[in-house]
């Protein structure tokens, strides 16, 4: 489930950070007498506990996580600052970094610099073993998340890496590099023409892995390039796509619709908000098929539900995940974050998908190739005019 956990996020970028003093709704939370117990417990632990006492921050995080869990919703949860930073980068589709990947080996963490990125330009070579990031020694037991957090930072800022390099004679030398971080982009869509086979050479294929801030722009670029290369039909592959930003899903569904509803959002107080398509499409009436599976969730399901309800695209694959709720991500004072389920959404025809998902128009049995089924389901040239 961890895949879906990150799933669906509504407008986190647009949401103002809340500060306790400024929050208008402070009094909405209970003023509870039970809270006095909380401090008694805190104090008694400090005073009497035999054993290692967790520090105040750890306890605070534990308290928040415990309290949040009581809400009984798997999508309402607390994220500590470090994972939060990675989550933010993932949804932004970019981060300040050095342009290298990390590989964990028995010997330690190895760097693989990407061409023309800051790490490579600074002189780091493929296979250099990371010893230190600024003043922090890197150990084999550290998690990749922990190391990534050390290496990443604002574009333009500098990070000092100490590495061990194995020389041709088998000797190792230690080197230090100062690398200026740059904006590193993480694409969410890869695309190509299916021109291995002349019969499918007019099909543009888009593999879409997450709804990040960059996704809409990437799709715009993808469709333009594919059309220039001769694509007249498209396959949008949403398998394994856990969702992402709501606004991005709406924009991307709109790319394929001229009018009508994309989704209906229903809040706790009963208010309904309809998201509607605007005139104009990326690829006019080009045939489109979406490929989905059990890990296509939330934003992916919004797109699939909208395009299917309007008859704009057929769904091929297997039953989707079924996540019909919307979360707000609030950044808290210390850069941790709180995901709160804030609404549920319905497809244009009013279908609630929570727990059930969307059933594809063409179900692909296990063992069959969903891509082949998608090609078969795509109206082809030979169908035109029939």
């Amino acid at each position: 489930m961890s895949m879906v956990v990150l799933a669906f996020v509504a407008g986190y970028a647009a949401y103002p950070l809340l500060h306790p003093a400024a929050a208008p709704a402070l009094e909405a939370a209970p003023q509870t007498g039970a809270m006095a117990n909380f401090w008694q417990v805190w104090h008694l632990l400090d005073r009497d506990f035999y054993g290692v006492k967790p520090d105040a921050q750890t306890r605070t995080y534990g308290a928040i996580a415990g309290m949040v869990e009581r809400f009984g919703d798997p999508y309402t949860y607390f994220v500590e600052p470090q994972p939060r930073a990675l989550e933010r980068d993932q949804l932004a589709g970019k981060f300040g970094g050095i342009g290298a990947t990390l590989e964990q080996t028995d010997a330690g963490w190895l760097l693989h610099p990407l061409p023309d990125q800051p790490a490579a330009r600074a002189g780091i070579l493929d296979g250099d073993r990371l010893l230190m990031v600024d003043a922090t020694p890197i150990t084999t037991t550290m998690t990749s998340d922990a190391i990534v957090n050390l290496v990443r930072g604002d574009p333009g800022s500098q990070v000092t890496l100490r590495v061990a390099r194995t020389l041709a004679d088998g000797e190792e030398e230690e080197l230090t590099f100062t690398v200026t971080r740059a904006e590193i982009v993480t694409p969410s869509i890869e695309w190509r023409l299916l021109d291995d086979d002349p019969r499918t050479a007019d099909i543009g294929y888009l593999r879409h892995t997450i709804f990040s801030e960059r996704s809409a722009e990437e799709m715009r670029q993808a469709i333009a390039e594919l059309q220039a290369a001769g694509a007249t039909r498209f396959i949008w592959d949403l398998r394994g796509n856990p969702g992402g930003l709501l606004d991005v899903a709406v924009t991307m569904a709109d790319f394929w619709l001229d009018s009508g509803m994309i989704l209906i959002e229903v809040k706790a107080d009963g208010t309904r908000k309809e998201f509607t398509a605007t005139p104009g499409q990326l690829a006019a009436a080009a045939p489109l098929v979406l490929v989905v599976d059990g890990a296509s969730a939330s934003a992916a399901e919004i797109v699939a539900g909208a395009l299917r309800d309007h008859g704009r695209a057929r769904l091929v694959g297997s039953q989707t995940f079924g996540k019909g709720s919307v979360q707000l991500i609030h950044e808290l004072g210390d850069q941790s974050s709180l995901h709160v389920t804030n609404a549920e959404w319905l497809t244009p025809r009013g279908q609630q998908i929570s727990g059930q998902g969307l059933t594809p128009d063409v179900l692909v049995a296990e063992g069959e190739d969903p891509l082949a089924a998608a090609i078969a389901a795509l109206p082809g040239d030979e169908d035109v005019g029939q």
Binding site: A29, A34, R47
Partner: protein, 430 residues
Amino acid sequence: MNQPETHGQPIVTPKSNGWQPILITCLSLVVAALLFAGGLGIGFAAGKWGSAPVANGAEESNAGGDAAALRARFPLFWEAMDILYRDFYGELPDSDDAVYAAIRGVLSQVDDPNTSFMSPDEASYFRENLQGSFEGIGARVDWDMNFDTVRIVEPFENQPAWRAGIKRDDLITHVDGESIIGADLMSAIDKIRGPKGTSVRLTIVRLTEEQPFDVEVVRDRIEIPTIETDTVGGNIAYVRLNTFNENAGDLVRDAVKTALAQNPAALILDLRGNPGGLLRQAVEVASVFLPKGERVLIERYADGKEDIYVTEDEPMTTDLPMVVLVNEGSASASEIVAGAIQDMARGKLVGTTTYGKGSVQLPQTLSDGSILRVTIARWFTPADRTIDGEGLTPDVVVELTEEDRQAQRDPQLDKAIELLGGEVEPLPVQ
């Protein structure tokens, strides 16, 4: 802070793989109390054992103060709570429950399963259970974190669950067809318990069986006596203590006194399955068998302070040959007594390795009636051994198999009788 009325008496209970065993003052153990381990020494006279809490200079701040002060101290928590109560789509939890969940969240960061919290409801349920009128299936249970359901810790001998064939470590997944997986211990126990004479269908997962199966159990009134006495092996006095409640010391003393009047050749103290209870009672029970002034245990606190507990009463017998029966269900207070008797060479331990609970908890009743149990100390045997996580190794290891149980054989008791020179009774005719 305003220190609540501390019914604090150091108590010792087994630690756990999740089950927080038992108890103190339970005359009848039911499927329930058990959860709430040893807790509350309700109304215990505190005087002579000194007060356990060590106020080592922690500031007695106004922790229970007004909301503004709380917010100032804990802004992140309030920020999160405000957002949730404002924006959450779905049913809002009761605010007290949310705070109790926060307390449990804090305790989950403490690497100690014995430090635990009971909400007022749970605490009052526990107190009721201590009154002792239970009707249920007669098994000690707990919540298995791995399988997220109820696990049988110990079916009490000859009680309904035991008679129905339920075994230790069985997992209960459904009660009368209704799943309890992912529920919580309290609500599961509520479903399992019921009036005497009614029956309940339990779906059991036993790891040695491929398929889950149903067992029908007819509930009964569960009475587990604190103490049982007998004469075995011809002329050997037998005393079984099932829990270290507030009467345990007196009951053992009286039982031994009565037995001694019969001039027994030896004595067996059976602590098998005894999960412990009150520390003070462990010392009193040891006092029955060890010379006055003898060391029973050493307790060490977080601040390095050390308390040495010694026997304070005249013993009943210091030379009558003696064996203590123990098993993996003998925990905490049982291990204190058995450890002292072993260290002082007062008698041999026979059976299997004991549970291994070497920590001491202090239960504190908080202002709204909830209860916090905090591990405040570790204890060591008179020879300064720790048993935490290891248990006591018997001088003579004798297993008791499931087959023995079914056949009502007791090779551990037989070995004790043999060591004490008594006559081992022939096996019952099958």
